[in-house]
């Protein structure tokens, strides 16, 4: 458990005045200060960490957000932005001295433009909500993180969320056109718009993935895409992680870019099969789910080529779905992976690092050795197309020693990811969870460069404090 710094007593002492000041700016129901009603905001998807905030505000307009920010700026009060609270890295974890600025009531779709293929929505619209709003016209919003039913687009922007289809469609950053933001001082700014490549510095790119450190995102203009004619999956099972990894290399080298290329190791296969009865081969060490898009004839063409490639790697089994139903069954296990692991272990920690694909067999071997030495089980799911590894470490949260071991195990895995040329996080963000691991990836000079950019947006460091940047260097920044 990472220690959290002590809250600012000076802020806590002014709590009543701060609450009263916020009530003066907002409708009554938009300010939550009663202890019982603050409780639901004490944590996010990283549930091991809990902290009741100073107060929660739930604005409905950008202007209200601007008023809140101007007030907090003037008062020197810290602000923690929050969408659906699904962050797995503690990105929305409150601090005792912070106002939680919840954007969930900003849930309106403002504009859909099919000829220009874009949609403008408020930050609190869910990821799936965008696709649902445009599906009747045959369009969709491409990034599809596992939490897409709940997670909100404002959070997706701040974490640069990915999903299973990044290889073809990119991550959030690649699917944005514009933002409306509120600066820490309470200024409203439009970044980009409905056009491509705004002139000047790439603020859109910098703000995406900035984890609430630079500004509050209140509106988002996304690209929407026409859905393909159809999609179909196949499943290939192999004798070893090495062979499956070699097969991934062969697929990429063939010139085919599947829309999804998912890898599961033996523990993940078993957990998911027990949960979903998806027909996964239990004698396999590793399995790939490969999905292609297009007309039926195009799918057949690609799947035939993929089958031939997989066949060269001595598969245990190959199963090409012949219908949408069979594809859904193949995906059912994978999409239920978290729930599946939850059934065989009281608790699990979902890690998120990236590695060069070529390093997969080596990394899985090392994780297996660590698993034995920590005596904690781990199941690995890997977006093979983009190098994003999700080890699910199983532990018992009621046992503090087990939790501490799991955290250490997780840190060791992420350090390994960096050692082999990867990164600390692929899509979950740094948040609180990986804050003190930033030194593993960056030099102090590099962290200082990032801190100076943070300061350029937020000179007093009021936004989402005590996250992303290691605490050690904070005093110097």
């Amino acid at each position: 458990m990472l220690p959290q710094p002590a809250p600012r007593q000076e802020t806590l002492a002014r709590r009543d005045d701060i609450v009263e000041g916020l009530r003066a700016l907002l409708p009554d129901e938009a300010v939550i200060a009663e202890p019982l009603r603050l409780k639901p905001y004490e944590t996010d998807g990283l549930t091991a960490y809990r902290q009741v905030p100073l107060v929660v505000v739930l604005p409905e307009t950008t202007e209200q957000v601007a008023a809140i920010m101007a007030f907090c700026h003037n008062q020197g009060v810290r602000v923690v932005p929050r969408g659906a609270g699904t962050s797995l890295s503690g990105g929305a974890l409150p601090m005792a001295d912070s106002v939680v600025l919840g954007l969930m009531r900003m849930n309106r779709i403002l504009d859909i433009d099919y000829p220009d293929r874009c949609a403008t929505v408020q930050a609190g619209v869910t990821n799936i909500g965008i696709t649902q709003a445009v599906a009747s016209h045959g369009f969709f919003y491409a990034p599809d993180p596992s939490s897409q039913l709940a997670c909100m687009i404002g959070g997706n922007v701040n974490m640069n969320s990915g999903g299973a289809h990044c290889l073809r469609y990119g991550v959030t950053a690649n699917n944005l056109l514009g933002l409306k933001i509120v600066t820490v001082e309470g200024e409203i700014l439009d970044i980009g718009g409905a056009h491509l490549d705004a002139a000047g510095y790439d603020w859109l790119g910098l703000l995406t993935g900035s984890e609430g450190q630079l500004a509050i995102v209140t509106e988002v203009t996304v690209r929407i895409l026409r859905s393909p004619e159809g999609a179909r999956a196949m499943l290939a099972a192999f004798r070893s992680n090495e062979v499956a990894g070699a097969c991934v290399d062969s697929i990429i080298a063939s010139g085919i870019i599947p829309v999804a290329l998912e890898f599961m190791d033996r523990p993940a296969i078993h957990a998911c099969e027990a949960y979903a009865n998806a027909g996964y081969p239990l004698d396999a060490e590793a399995m790939l789910i490969i999905e292609v898009e297009g007309s039926i004839a195009e799918q057949d063409f690609l799947l035939d080529r993929l089958k031939a490639i997989c066949a060269r790697h001595d598969p245990i089994s190959l199963k090409v779905s012949s219908s949408a139903e069979e594809s859904a069954a193949i995906w059912k296990g994978r999409k239920g992976a978290f729930g599946a692991v939850g059934r065989i272990s009281p608790d699990y920690m979902c890690m998120d690092g990236t590695i060069p694909t070529s390093q997969l067999p080596h990394v899985l071997r090392r994780i297996g050795e660590m698993s034995a030495s920590y005596n904690l089980q781990v199941a690995n799911i890997f977006h093979a197309g983009d190098g994003n590894l999700h080890p699910l470490i199983m532990f018992d949260a009621n046992d503090p020693a087990s939790f501490a071991k799991a955290e250490k195990f997780g840190a060791d895995i992420l350090t390994l990811c960096v050692e082999v040329g990867g990164c600390l996080t692929g899509e979950h963000g740094v948040g609180v969870e990986k804050r003190d691991l930033m030194h593993v990836q960056f030099t102090e000079t590099e962290l200082d460069q990032q801190r100076r950019i943070k300061s350029a947006f937020d000179p007093a460091w009021l936004l989402n404090a005590n996250k992303v940047f290691p605490l050690k260097g904070l005093a110097a920044a």
């Binding site: 293929r117 718009g193 990986k434």
Partner: protein, 401 residues
Amino acid sequence: MTPTDEQGIAEAILAAHDAREPLAIIGRNSKRGLLRPLETIRGQAARTLSTQNLTGITLYSPSELIISARAGTTLAELEAAIAANGQHIIAEPPDFTALFGQAQPQTIGGVVAANLSGPRRIAWGAMRDHVMGVRAINGTGESIRSGGRVLKNVTGLDLSKLLTGSHGTLAVLTEITLKVLPAPEQRATLVLRGLNPARAVAALAAALGSPYAVSAAAYLPAAQAGFIPGIGPGPVALVRIEDFAPSVAYRTARLRADLAEFAPADILDDTQSRLAWSAIRDAAPFAGMQGAIWRVSVRPSRGPAVAEALEQTFGAAWFLDWGGGLAWIAGPATAEAHAAVAATAARHGGTHTLFRAPETLRAAVAVIPPEPAALAAITRRVKAAFDPRGILNPGRMHAGV
């Protein structure tokens, strides 16, 4: 100065920082006509610091879709290396040497620093979307890295995107890692003739909004169509499909049927498509033209209105790429014409860049739109966060920054 390694770049910048001397950051100087001429510091003109001797591919892993190269590596060398493995640079970076009357080949550092993307941008993203990592030296001579050699990472602030398109004003790129993709097996282009601009852009929107993965969509009025090889006379709307051969055949046929309500379509084969889209990518219609050239980016449906307004105002020559969203505009190199472009772009919710003009005009006007005060303040602070003494390409993007 032409150091041969990153250390040499760092030492040159540190010396300039200590002496408060401005530096002109270049690769092979093919883009010196872009944006504003550099400003002096206390009357002192910038010394040139080139990355052209930082050359070579440092990592290429075709099966991981990743290539890294030092900044001074020519784009041609990079493209040849990946083409040998059947791969390509996704954003289809243009070659503007003819447009700028330059003989020097461009470097990957320059392409990334200017974030230049070609026709495929509308469907597959800009250069900045595929810069996975960078190494750079900031304005105090410090080495910084961002991103990495993996296709996905969100660790810390995304300096790779911030530095891409920053025109050497924040840091000097020394090494770049790009995502690449398999090049398509085949290309084909539908040619729809005789459509007026608004109708043509509606046809492009229908094509881009189809399930057939259109990879480029452009419109050329009669005056410009003749500059595109194999197109012939009259206004043309062009729609490109790239994929495996059976998919190209299938989708071309489907699109031809779907677009029949606009106009019957001729088909350009693979070779003809390559030639036509290279010409559009490199703005070939404007290469021999005198005067100023602007790029206006708007929502695609507004492209015709922008172009026609400027045609009326100062007789602009123009054509549209990116489904109508990128208006290439040519006209007289005057402050009046520039003001008309800037106002028209703003009225339609878009942005402008004075792309090529004599130095006097580039020094006199805002070559890109000025930012609102709160954002301009952030720009100055971010500039200072990298380059506190303002020595890197001073004034290149915004006057005084």
